[in-house]
């Protein structure tokens, strides 16, 4: 059978090879074209649809989450504004209160001061009046001890002391 170098050139089985090639290839073609390829195409298409749907869904979720995030940021901003408003409000109130208290305090302290001053003035004049009498009594005592009783001296002394005190 293998007298020739190449079995490929042996024409004895050419017909058989072509015959079986045609048969097997036609069977292959029919099965592929009718069943296998549409099935594969269908599976791939279905998968692509699923993937596309999932991607779309994911995009929707993303959009939704972005909206939620924006709302969240918005509410935080509002809260911050509100808080700062509260803060400034209460600061103003506090300032007002402090000012009021201050004014009250100033007023009352001024009144108190005035009261003390008038009292002081009164005391001072009382002391001054007393001091005139004391000075007179002491000097009169000293003079009368030294020089003896003298009504004339008494009067001049009184005048002198009066003028000294007045000064």
């Amino acid at each position: 059978m293998s007298e020739s170098g190449m079995p490929q050139l042996n024409t004895e089985y050419f017909a058989s090879q072509i015959f079986w090639l045609v048969i097997s290839f036609i069977i292959l073609y029919i099965v592929m074209a009718k069943y296998a390829l549409p099935k594969i195409a269908n599976v791939i298409e279905t998968r692509e649809d699923i993937i596309a749907r999932d991607v779309e869904e994911a995009e929707n979720f993303k959009k939704e989450s972005e909206i939620t995030e924006q709302g969240y940021l918005q509410s935080i901003k509002e809260a911050q504004e509100k808080a700062s408003q509260y803060l400034s409000n209460s600061r103003n109130k506090l300032n007002l209160l402090i000012e009021e208290e201050n004014n009250d305090f100033e007023k009352s302290s001024r009144e108190l001061m005035q009261k003390f001053e008038t009292e002081l003035e009164k005391k001072k004049s009382a002391v001054l009046a007393d001091s005139e009498q004391i000075a007179y009594d002491v000097s009169n005592d000293i003079i009368s001890r030294v020089f003896g009783e003298n009504p004339l001296v008494k009067d001049t002394l009184k005048d002198n002391i009066k003028s000294m005190v007045k000064r």
């Binding site: 079995p7 042996n10 004895e12 015959f19 073609y29 296998a36 390829l37 279905t46």
Partner: protein, 254 residues
């Protein structure tokens, strides 16, 4: 493998062996080892593409991925080379690619028979493609398909010569297409066998110096087997893509 008499014959692997005798009139249409591996290939392709799809989950199984990858690979090939009009011929190109690929790959298993290492098989495929493409050309363009052989934009004086060259190059397409595949497969397998004989011959030479050197051809055929697997794929790809290109020529002219 080697014949009992004389030197081992690397061509022995291409021998056709009758398995079931079958005669129609005077023709010998016996079921041979070649037929067996054609049927094997077809059966494997059908198994791969039809029975690996369990359910239709979003995540494909491994074998299903192979089927889908082949589908998309050939689909892209047809789309890129022929365009939308080529979709009608996609099943044929797919069968062609898968059939040649599986025949080549099955041939890489030791002790198997390589269907595509026989010129008559590859030539039969190529001649069908040749006639099919020519018929498509004439059906789509009518008699003006003959303009395909007249290159545009050349001096009038050169036209007769160029038309002859174009016609010859067109007519040799089936030859080049079939011989390329057949020669690649035959040469690769012969080479593997020859080096296999070297390994066996050296290891069992009984010579202590030569026997260890048998490792060298062993390493070589190991690497060469990898290369041959690449060639097996590449030749199937080339066969299919050239078919696409011929189809494109017929559909779009150029």
């Amino acid at each position: 493998m080697a014949e009992k008499s004389g030197a081992p014959d690397p061509m022995h692997q291409f021998e056709i062996v009758e398995l079931v005798e079958f005669k129609l009139f005077d023709l010998n249409l016996s079921f041979t080892n070649s037929s067996l591996f054609m049927v094997f290939s077809v059966a494997l392709i059908i198994l791969l593409t039809l029975f690996t799809f369990n359910g239709r989950g979003t995540v494909p199984t491994r074998l299903q991925s192979i089927a889908e990858l082949s589908y998309e690979f050939v689909g892209k090939m047809v789309r890129d080379n022929v365009g939308d009009e080529g979709q009608r011929y996609f099943p044929f190109i797919f069968c062609l690619f898968m059939f040649v690929l599986f025949c080549n790959m099955l041939g890489m298993i030791p002790y198997t028979f390589t269907v595509t290492s026989h010129i008559i098989v590859t030539f039969a495929l190529a001649i069908v493609i040749f006639f099919g493409v020519t018929v498509i050309g004439f059906v789509m363009h009518g008699i003006s398909f003959l303009k395909f052989f007249v290159p545009s934009g050349v001096p009038k004086a050169l036209l007769p010569l160029l038309v002859v060259i174009e016609v010859i190059s067109y007519l040799t397409r089936p030859v080049s297409l079939s011989v390329r595949l057949f020669a690649n497969m035959m040469a690769g397998h012969t080479m593997l066998k020859v080096f296999g004989f070297f390994v066996a011959g050296m290891f069992f030479s009984g010579n202590l110096f030569i026997a260890p050197l048998g490792v060298a051809p062993l390493l070589f055929i190991t690497a060469f087997t990898g290369l041959e697997i690449l060639v097996a794929f590449l030749q199937a790809y080339v066969f299919a893509i050239l078919t696409c290109i011929y189809l494109n020529d017929a559909i779009h002219m150029h």
